[in-house]
């Protein structure tokens, strides 16, 4: 299992997660089944979103991510189950004034300027953000008078993001928001998503970049074949696939290490021992007590990618 340096960063972000328990969810899918002919896209799915949360919906292609988003947007109706957004049907016009969406769009009206697209979308909402503010948040200053067709891939994504937030919505859906962006633009957008969350807005994100879910999400929901197979903070998801790993130089024997509580695996690699455990703190305390010469200590969480692969492979 590769050791991951990002892991520590992630745990800190997770620790800052809003306490979601006292809040009522603002959007829920309850026991949703969605069939297309004989194909089952969603199979008894439950999902809830709380104020101020960034939730990442992860899953392989065809897992039902887009179907879940479309249900919450009121674009499709479930075969059975209930959808509630802000306490009412997502298809109601008043609900939609509090929701913004960035969907995967193949082609946008290319002969309108960025400013014109925004002017039109702002007019749909009762309390839109000021134009200058939208341009600043989506980093469109300087290109607002360009035609949509003249924008680069990353700029188009930023313009779509601007359309999603222009109405100052409380709930924002971002379907693969950073596709086609370079690393700098991607990180800048992450920063904007964090600041939306800091303002108390809820963001539901679907992404293929596990790094993105890891860096942004307070909570990750892994779905496969229309069912939730795992949910929790990024750290919890990673831990659920076998726990953290301790790597060090030690004189302790493999046999002894395996007798420690919660140790699931012990291997040797280039003279170092690698211990896999779900309770790293307890195991380390014991190891340090027993071996004063213990050195080169590293503790790492598994990368989210490994956890994800482990979770979806088991299906």
């Amino acid at each position: 299992m590769p050791l991951s340096a990002i892991a520590y960063e992630t745990e800190q972000i997770a620790a800052k997660a809003p306490a979601s328990a006292p809040h009522q969810p603002i959007a829920t899918l309850t026991n949703i089944t969605k069939r297309y002919g004989t194909t089952v896209a969603l199979d008894g799915l439950d999902l809830s979103l709380h104020p101020g949360e960034v939730v990442a919906l992860l899953g392989p292609n065809g897992a039902g991510k887009s179907t879940a988003v479309k249900l919450l947007l009121g674009l499709i109706a479930p075969t059975s189950g209930t959808t509630r957004v802000f306490g009412s049907d997502p298809r109601e016009a008043t609900t939609r004034t509090r929701v913004g969406a960035m969907l995967q769009v193949a082609r946008i009206t290319e002969t309108l300027r960025v400013r014109e697209h925004l002017d039109l979308f702002r007019s749909y909402y009762p309390h839109p953000l000021p134009m200058a503010e939208i341009l600043r948040i989506a980093q469109l200053q300087g290109i607002e008078d360009r035609f949509f067709g003249q924008l680069s891939g990353g700029q188009k994504q930023r313009a779509l993001f601007a359309l999603a937030i222009c109405g100052n919505p409380d709930l924002i859906f971002l379907d693969e928001p950073t596709v086609g962006m370079d690393i700098e633009a991607r990180r800048a957008l992450w920063q904007q998503i964090r600041s939306l969350s800091a303002q108390g807005k809820t963001v539901l994100l679907t992404t293929h970049y596990l790094e993105e879910a890891d860096a942004l999400a307070h909570r990750i929901i892994v779905i496969n074949k229309g069912r939730v197979i795992s949910a929790g903070t990024p750290a919890e998801i990673k831990r659920s696939s076998g726990g953290r790993t301790i790597r060090c130089q030690t004189r302790l024997s493999r046999e002894f290490l395996l007798t420690l509580p919660s140790v699931s695996n012990v291997t040797f690699n280039e003279g170092a021992v690698i211990v896999t455990t779900s309770e790293a703190e307890t195991v380390i305390r014991e190891m340090l007590l027993r071996d004063e010469t213990l050195s080169d200590l590293e503790i790492a969480s598994p990368a989210l990618e490994d956890a994800f692969l482990a979770l979806t492979r088991n299906q």
Binding site: T97, L103, Q104, F121, S123, L163
Partner: protein
Amino acid sequence: MATSAITHPLPAATGFAHTLSIFRKETKYEFLKLMRTKSFSLSTIGFPVMFYVLFGIANRNAFAGNVHLAKYMLGGYACFGLIGATLFGIGVGLAGELAAGWLELKRASPMPAPAYLFAKCASAVAFGLIIVSILTAIAVSFGGVSLTSTELIKMLGMTIVGSISFAGMGLLLALLVPANAAPAIVNLIYLPMSFLSGLWVPLRFMPHWLQGIAPALPTYHLSQLMLSIFGYQDSMSLITHWNALIGFTLLMLGLSWFVFHRKEQNA
């Protein structure tokens, strides 16, 4: 309501003025978009104008009985132009926006769906009026056509009627036809239909068996109504033409509604 703590007070601007402003902006940008899309604006305005210059003006001194052929053809090409603008603007435009997922994004927003349809329809009417105005200006300036102001106003009125009645057909085509095939399919329907209804060449100059097809086509009834403004219509009564045009419009809208709902259920 459980979520009352985070519910905004009802927005103040949801009133009539707000809705009106959405309709206005939606229409403005739809029209701007079509105007700037050269493949649309140049061809929908250019073709009827070019045909009229070639065939209409050539007949500036030709009369068949009381019928001034250049004036007769003004009526035909006016219909040809306005139908083209409607079928391409609504049919091809909407099919493209459906396929690209753009309409889905708009539907997820609080945009009222009628604003979207109104914008498409109003833009088609606007293009129809532009085309008919240009054709009329050419006919009067170079075709030796004399037109009373009442006739002009009636022509523009009939242009609005025609655009609205063919909007339903545009809608139906957009729902049925894949976006990449839409321009070709619209042409395959629109061009033969125009020819067979006498929009290019007056029906009386066509073989008799071809003339028999015309009453089955909506384009024929629209063109007869347009020509009746000049007193150039065939023997069939105007009531029949109106009934046929209204029936066609309702049929297209009804079929569109049916197809749309079937798609919604399968979605």
